[in-house]
């Protein structure tokens, strides 16, 4: 049985669910250092709670910038986060469902 997720991992999941799609946004929203966020993103991907995609080339080319990778929760990821929110939501910021935020689909 996989280890339960730590607080920082949950906050990152929450940030993605609430609309932070790019790594930079997640770093800013959770206020965690990039050195913490990116390894977690990698582990979440490995466990199937998160999926990542490259942007369409045209979108980036139109805006004259390099393409970025964006992340979103898988259904499994949503479920795990919802469970954790029920258990801990009121105690840990960023986990409980944002009243204004919707599900994290692109």
């Amino acid at each position: 049985m996989p280890r339960p997720l730590g607080e920082r991992t949950l906050r990152i999941l929450g940030a993605v669910r609430d609309g932070a799609r790019y790594g930079l946004d997640i770093v800013e929203r959770t206020e965690l250092p990039s050195g913490t966020v990116y390894p977690v993103l990698g582990r979440l991907r490995d466990r199937g709670l998160l999926e990542s995609r490259w942007e369409e080339d045209e979108v980036a080319a139109r805006e004259g910038r390099p393409r970025r990778k964006y992340h979103r929760l898988t259904p499994e990821g949503l479920r795990v986060l919802a469970e954790a929110a029920e258990r801990l939501g009121h105690r840990v910021p960023g986990i409980a469902q944002d009243a204004a935020g919707a599900g994290g689909t692109a």
Partner: protein, 873 residues
């Protein structure tokens, strides 16, 4: 500016597996670009990019993460706890190796690095000495030159001070003792930034002409002699018979600026010089050629030692015409820090180098041992490792786990080694017998060093087994190896290396021991066996102030000569080989340039008593000594230097040294300065010339039996002449001989101890390897037994393999031994590198120990259970 951040990402990306690298980099660079578009500065971009390192590590080999390391450590600790015997042996071995190194470093630290206690900001205090191109040294200065410094060095020195060491008699009657006293200028304590623990310290006021005689007492003297009396300030103390008032106590641990020698008990103002020497008429304060003051100074904040040297050089140049014999060619030396003078530091650095080498060798032997232990254990744990690999632990993970275990062993080894670091301080009386002021206790520096050595040890012993494990599991995780050939060869090689290093250390120890033995039996040119020296001091006694010293000394000599058991008695200004030997210029004619010769003031029967042969003429008699005309005996070499003409007869001629003396005899060459020194031209005179006559002499007694047996009677005889004569030392000259090789003795003891340690470690290592080999060959040995091999043959097999290893170790060790002996160089006496006796002896010792270490495994091999080993498959 995004470039530095991108560079950081690029560097970090090398830790990411090759197939993911390009995309990984692209993602990071894209986010950096987004951040830059938002207007972030270089700093913010770098801050973001800093996370690339840990992120890459997490993606990289073995998926490292901080949590993983903790896991590895926990697992490692559990594994070690489950193998207590192995862990104990490994930690114990490491403790010995690391501890020995820590103790050696404690010695080096105490001698070289540790600053003199009580001095404020020691880095800006300097010692000032002078040297000349034709005779390198670090000499003192005369008083008028010191005053010159006081006046004209403000640009580079904030303050200068001077001090001078003296032996003095403190107290009176039966409670009298000879102690070290320092005469200091008024600025001394100010230059050093020392504060009084009680009362006050000396100031410029105390040095003024006509000021009251005062003294500052040291902390240790205050506690031992005055019982920490809170009312010590104001008490009076007699120094050489003169009363002085104690005005303060120096702070705890402050012993002046010199680490070497006896720490001073009292500090007196320089103005007390005359009273101390008991000769009010002649003082050194006006004399340019009387160099007695050691000078220290505190640098101006913006001045360097180079600038100071330049200023002093120009001062010297300006006076070179007026006083060429002092100032011409004078090279001032300004050395940072106090504690040891430049000569002492050089000596200290040599010893430090040697100790570092020995310590390094010992560490290598220790690490070889522990590596062997780990390798042996690794082959035993092969199954466990294979299972782990099969379950998905990558190569990196296994390596990290092994390193974690090694780190735990290393840390435990360092902790266990700490008590050993105290060994240096405990052994100080043996290693440095004449230096009670030296502090070898471990401090923060020593502990830090122990930690660093521990880390180095982990690298040395941990990498080999970890690499071996990595290699094994890289090939085909899960496949079981049927042969352990690789591991066995490495282990044998390690043991051979250990034995070789061991032989090197043993050879070094043997050479040093042989040097000490040679010294004991060496011929210094006079018969040191059976000679007793008794030092008598009377300068502090008022009643002898007016009397000619020789009359007093003759009375004492007659008294001592009267006791049974003495064959001859004489007196001398200094004890050969035990005391500082004075030297000076001697000329055949006052206009000649002088020859440097050793000067000895002697009493009647000096040559008969010491056994120095007179080759021409005669020795001075009692009548000669008591008469007014100074007489002299010259050594053959001095005679030849003064009168090079082959037919010249020195008898009847005059030698101009400290006094003008008529030569009555020629003596053979001797080594007065110690057995390791060369014989020097020597002048023996009956009358002391020079500014002040000492009020002390050493009585040399030739005893019929053991010298120390007549010591009590001799001391009583002195007391019968005058009970208040102070007996300051009684010495058996033979032991002074050995002590003159002080440095050799110190290093010798250390190397012997370490060689024994190394031998033990190597023996244990050999024992381990042979035991392992026996285990490995159990099947083969079982078969042999079944086929009828006798126990003797089995033992012979094992012993042979053990002795082969030892032989290889000895062969390699001979090279190491030669290197070690060459490095010891100047400390050896009568022993060269590759000395056959030492080499043969140590090789034999090593073989014997190897045979012993091989015996138990050999014996166990004969007990190998035939059936069980045949069944093993």
């Amino acid at each position: 500016m995004i470039a530095p951040a991108r560079a950081l990402v690029r560097i970090a990306s090398w830790m990411v597996p090759a197939d993911e690298r390009a995309e990984w980099r692209e993602e990071w660079n894209a986010e950096l670009a987004a951040l830059a578009r938002r207007g972030a500065g270089t700093g913010a971009l770098l801050g973001f990019a800093a996370g690339a390192g840990p992120a890459a590590l997490a993606r990289g080999p073995g998926r490292w993460s901080p949590g993983g390391t903790l896991q590895d450590l926990r697992l490692g600790a559990r594994t070690l706890v489950r193998a207590p015997l192995f862990a104990t042996v490994a930690v114990g071995t490491l403790a010995l190796g690391i501890g020995a190194n820590a103790a050696l470093f404690a010695v080096v630290n105490g001698v070289l690095f540790r600053p003199v206690p009580g001095v404020e900001d020691p880095e800006s205090v300097v010692q000032v000495g002078r040297t000349y191109p034709h005779s390198p040294s670090f000499d003192n200065w005369s008083w008028p030159v010191f005053e010159l410094f006081e006046r004209e060095t403000e640009g580079v020195f904030r303050e200068v001070a001077g001090y001078s060491r003296h032996g003095s008699i403190v107290g009176e009657g039966a409670g009298a003792a000879q102690v070290a006293v320092q005469l200091v200028t008024g600025s001394y304590f100010e230059v050093l930034g020392v504060r009084a623990a009680r009362g006050r310290l000396l100031t410029a006021e105390d040095v003024r002409e006509g000021s009251a005689p005062v003294a500052v007492v040291s902390w240790s003297a205050w506690t031992s002699r005055y019982g920490s009396d809170p009312a010590v300030v104001g008490r009076s103390v007699r120094v050489n018979g003169e009363p002085h008032q104690i005005v303060g106590v120096a702070p705890r641990g402050f012993v002046g600026v010199e680490k070497a020698g006896t720490p001073p008990t009292l500090w007196l103002p320089v103005s007390r010089w005359a009273a101390l020497r008991g000769y009010p008429s002649e003082t050194p304060f006006e004399q340019w050629d009387w160099s007695w003051l050691a000078v220290i100074a505190r640098l101006q904040p913006d001045a360097s030692t180079g600038e100071a040297q330049a200023v002093l050089t120009s001062l010297a140049r300006a006076r070179a015409d007026a006083m060429p014999w002092y100032f011409e060619d004078l090279v001032p030396v300004v050395a940072t820090g106090v504690g040891l003078d430049p000569d002492g530091r050089r000596e200290g650095r040599t010893i430090a180098g040697l100790l570092a080498a020995v310590g390094g060798v010992l560490l290598l032997i220790t690490c070889a041992n522990v590596a062997n232990l780990l390798l042996a254990r690794a082959s035993a744990r092969r199954t466990e490792m294979d299972v782990r690999a099969a379950l998905g632990a990558g190569r990196g993970r296994l390596v990290r786990q092994l390193l974690a275990e090694s780190s735990i062993l290393g840390a435990a080894g360092v902790l266990a080694a700490l008590p050993l670091a105290w060994a240096a301080e405990l052994l100080r009386p043996v290693l440095f017998p004449g230096e009670p002021g030296l502090d070898l206790a471990p401090d923060g520096t020593v502990l830090a060093f122990a930690a660093v050595v521990g880390g180095l040890a982990v690298l040395l012993f941990g990498l080999a087994p970890a690499a071996a494990a990595a290699r094994r599991h890289a090939v085909a995780p899960g496949l079981r190896e049927t042969r352990v050939s690789g591991g066995g060869r490495v282990r044998s090689a390690l043991v051979v290396l250990q034995l070789a290093l061991c032989l090197g250390l043993l050879a070094g120890a043997g050479s040093l021991l042989r040097s000490l033995w040679n010294a004991r039996t060496a011929d210094p040119g006079f018969d040191a066996a059976g000679l007793l020296a008794v030092d008598v001091h009377y300068g502090h006694l008022e009643r002898y102030r007016g009397e000619s010293p020789r009359q007093v000394l003759e009375r004492v000599r007659a008294a001592v000569a009267g006791i049974p058991g003495t064959a001859a008695v004489t007196w001398s200004g200094a004890v050969p080989m035990a005391d500082f030997q004075s030297s000076g210029s001697v000329r055949a004619d006052p206009a000649d340039p002088g020859v440097t010769a050793d000067l000895v003031v002697v009493g009647p029967d000096f040559f008969t008593t010491t056994g120095i042969p007179i080759v021409r003429g005669r020795e001075p008699s009692a009548d000669d000594v008591l008469a007014d005309e100074p007489l002299a005996v010259v050594s053959g070499s001095l005679a030849r230097l003064l009168w090079p003409d082959p037919g010249a007869d020195p008898l009847g001629r005059s030698a101009h040294g400290p006094v003008e003396a008529r030569i009555v005899g020629v003596a053979d060459e001797v080594r007065l300065r110690g057995v390791a020194s060369a014989p020097r031209p020597t002048l023996y005179v009956t009358h002391h010339g020079g500014p002040v006559a000492p009020r002390q002499a050493s009585f040399l007694v030739r005893a019929r039996g053991a010298p120390l047996a007549v010591a009590p009677a001799a001391e009583r005889a002195v007391g019968s002449v005058d009970p208040e004569l102070a007996l300051v030392r009684t010495l058996d000259l033979r032991s002074a001989l050995v002590r003159s090789l002080g440095e050799t003795r110190t290093v010798g003891w250390l190397v012997v101890l370490l060689a024994v340690l190394a031998l033990t470690l190597a023996a244990v290592g050999l024992f381990g390897v042979l035991g392992f080999n026996v285990e490995r060959r159990r099947r083969e040995l079982g078969v042999r037994k079944a086929l009828g091999a006798r126990p003797r043959e089995i033992v012979g097999l094992v012993l042979r393999s053990g002795l082969t290893l030892a032989g290889a170790g000895i062969a390699l060790g001979l090279v190491v031994a030669w290197v070690v002996s060459s490095a010891l160089g100047g400390l050896l006496y009568g022993v060269g590198p590759g000395d056959p006796a030492v080499t043969a002896g140590t090789a034999a010792l090593l073989l014997a120990v190897a045979a012993l270490a091989a015996w138990i495994p050999a014996h166990r091999a004969t007990r190998a259970d035939v059936v069980a080993s045949l069944n093993e498959e």
